[in-house]
């Protein structure tokens, strides 16, 4: 997993609520057996029209918006447990998703893939949307060590929560497997106590 410490980037606004994982990556693209290449089909049915042409109205297709931060409406990532959604977001180039609320499974999947989900309150989310829409080049700074996100143009910032264990994992690029395996003796002891 890639390490994550700080990031400064412009952001892409997706001001839709309840974005479910079927929109992030539709089921028909889940037939692959590797983790690669899902970015191509990220938000497939919103990015492309039914005839296959590009939907110019969709934020990801609007040339004025770019960057590796996705700012999205409330309850992002609800629905299915497909980790393909986190893979698609990562593969497309996003390292941070900001929303006022995340679904549980998506949040865990994102963290397991080095993508940082940042939950902010609704007022700050609106501030972000307004800032990006009025000046798409606005730089947003994410500081994981200090758990702080800042709109640099206005110096408006807010703190965000993250589990201390997951924070350490992200900063160092660790994943859970090595940690679990290092506890194998205790796991076997637990099994014996239940037998």
């Amino acid at each position: 997993m890639d390490k994550f410490t700080t990031l400064t980037s412009s952001a892409i606004p997706l001001s839709i609520e309840n974005v479910d994982t079927d929109q992030i990556i539709p089921a028909r693209f889940l037939k692959a057996t590797s983790r690669d290449g899902f970015g191509e089909n990220l938000f497939r049915d919103w990015r492309f029209k039914k005839d296959g042409s590009v939907n110019e109205d969709f934020a990801l297709n609007n040339a004025v918006y770019k960057g590796s931060i996705l700012v999205a409406g409330d309850n992002f990532g609800c629905g299915s447990s497909r980790e393909h959604a986190a893979w698609a977001i990562n593969d497309y180039g996003f390292k941070v998703v900001v929303s006022s609320f995340f679904a549980d499974i998506f949040k865990g999947n994102a963290l397991n893939n080095g993508v940082l989900p940042i939950q902010v309150d609704k007022e700050y989310l609106k501030e972000l949307f307004d800032q990006i829409k009025s000046n798409p080049d606005s730089q947003i700074e994410v500081d994981l060590e200090n758990q702080k996100i800042t709109i640099l143009a206005t110096d408006s910032s807010t703190n965000f929560e993250i589990n201390p264990y997951k924070k350490t994992c992200l900063i160092n690029g660790y994943d859970d497997i090595d940690f679990l395996i290092s506890n194998k003796a205790e796991i076997e002891e637990f099994e014996n106590s239940k037998a």
């Binding site: 001001s15 839709i16 609520e17 309840n18 479910d20 079927d22 929109q23 539709p26 089921a27 028909r28 889940l30 037939k31 692959a32 057996t33 590797s34 983790r35 049915d45 039914k50 409406g73 409330d74 309850n75 609800c78 629905g79 299915s80 447990s81 497909r82 980790e83 393909h84 986190a86 609320f101 995340f102 679904a103 549980d104 499974i105 865990g108 999947n109 397991n112 893939n113 589990n163 201390p164 264990y165 994943d175 859970d176 497997i177 940690f179 679990l180 395996i181 506890n183 194998k184 205790e186 796991i187 637990f190 099994e191």
Partner: protein
Amino acid sequence: MKKTLFDKVWDAHVVKEIKDGPQILYIDKHLIHEVTSPQAFGELEQRGIPVFRPDQIVATADHNTPTVDQHLPVKDDLSRNQLEELTKNCKKNNITLYGLGHKYNGIVHVMAPELGITQPGMTMVCGDSHTSTHGAFGTIAFGIGTSQVAQVFASQCLLLQKPKSLRVNVNGKLKSEVLPKDVILYVIAKLGTNAGTGYFCEYAGNVFEDMSMEGRMTVCNMSIEMGARGGMIAPDETTFEYIKGKEFAPQGKEFDKKVAYWQTLPTDEGAIFDKEYHFDAEDIEPMITYGTNPGMGIKISENIPSENNASFEKSLAYMNFEKGQSLVNQKINYVFIGSCTNSRIEDFRVAANYIKGKKKANNVTAWFVPGSQQVAQQIVKEGLNTIFEEAGFQLRQPGCSACLAMNDDKIPEGEYCVSTSNRNFEGRQGQGSRTILASPLVAAATAIEGRIIDISKQLN
């Protein structure tokens, strides 16, 4: 200290607590399927890590399988490759697989309970959010991502924060035409799609106590649709009776010993939940959804509400419905009875009971998809297939089918489908498809009438 059902099961599975961090939770059963497991096997292989407890894993092929001609090679190259990969990975790692055509094959959340694999007091996971289904047995069961599938392969454990607790109480007498599906659609419509996020939910009250195991599974199945990772119902005589004699259930004295333990699991009188809701059974009517998330549900007798926000309006525009509109008499060309929510024998009994002696509407294409080979056989044994055939319906072979339309069972663009599945997201049943969630009774009535009817009015 008074404990909840959830506390009791969770606490019994904590291997270790990490200071300021998550807990290591032991997993008793790990169910896998073809779509969310290949990358986990790949990761283990790449890192040279063996599967730790292959005998605690059971695999089935369900998400990506055809529902006709299952004896023939799967036509779609990518689907076939995914199924072959599952077979190869299970063989290599000594994992039991109930593949296509096996007498135990079926949707993972239908197959495991009916084989007695699911038992009270267990922890169970699967790379599928509807793993919450198994909570109907008083099991902690929840969906996980593929990285977590790999973690369980490697260690039979997961690193987790203990979720908060939530209890949904429904008491009173349900109307005869109100099914478990209506109860859970009602609860989600009241609470919204994220009320349960961060929580594990217990369903309590006489309504759930009086339900069959099939009904309880339908309810727990949709816990994730209100954001809860899992839902649970206290095990009782109904639970024990269901498990008794099942293929992989404990037998004889061992069974009695287990029952004695299972009887200690229900929530202690006076245990405190972080959140609690109460609903009155008399207020529940047959439900349908009108929008693009499962929280957008109404009683069939009600009109679509009027909300002024962009997401709500986007949703209605997708469905091509108007604010304030009634859905009664809405013409419907597609009906799907199936999915891990409603594809058990009881669901087909409800449908057959309504359909008996009637004829399918000419405009309707209906897909009736049993949840497993065992359900399919039971349908034949009870003669329900004859009732369906005489009415103009045909049964298909088991699988997830049009619930997520990974196979060829896709609803065409722009068409409405009254569906017993669990999600009405945009394009869920095929690109541009419009899903209306409902109970198997409402779905059967729609298939006969070719339009949505007020089922309460017709039956009373």
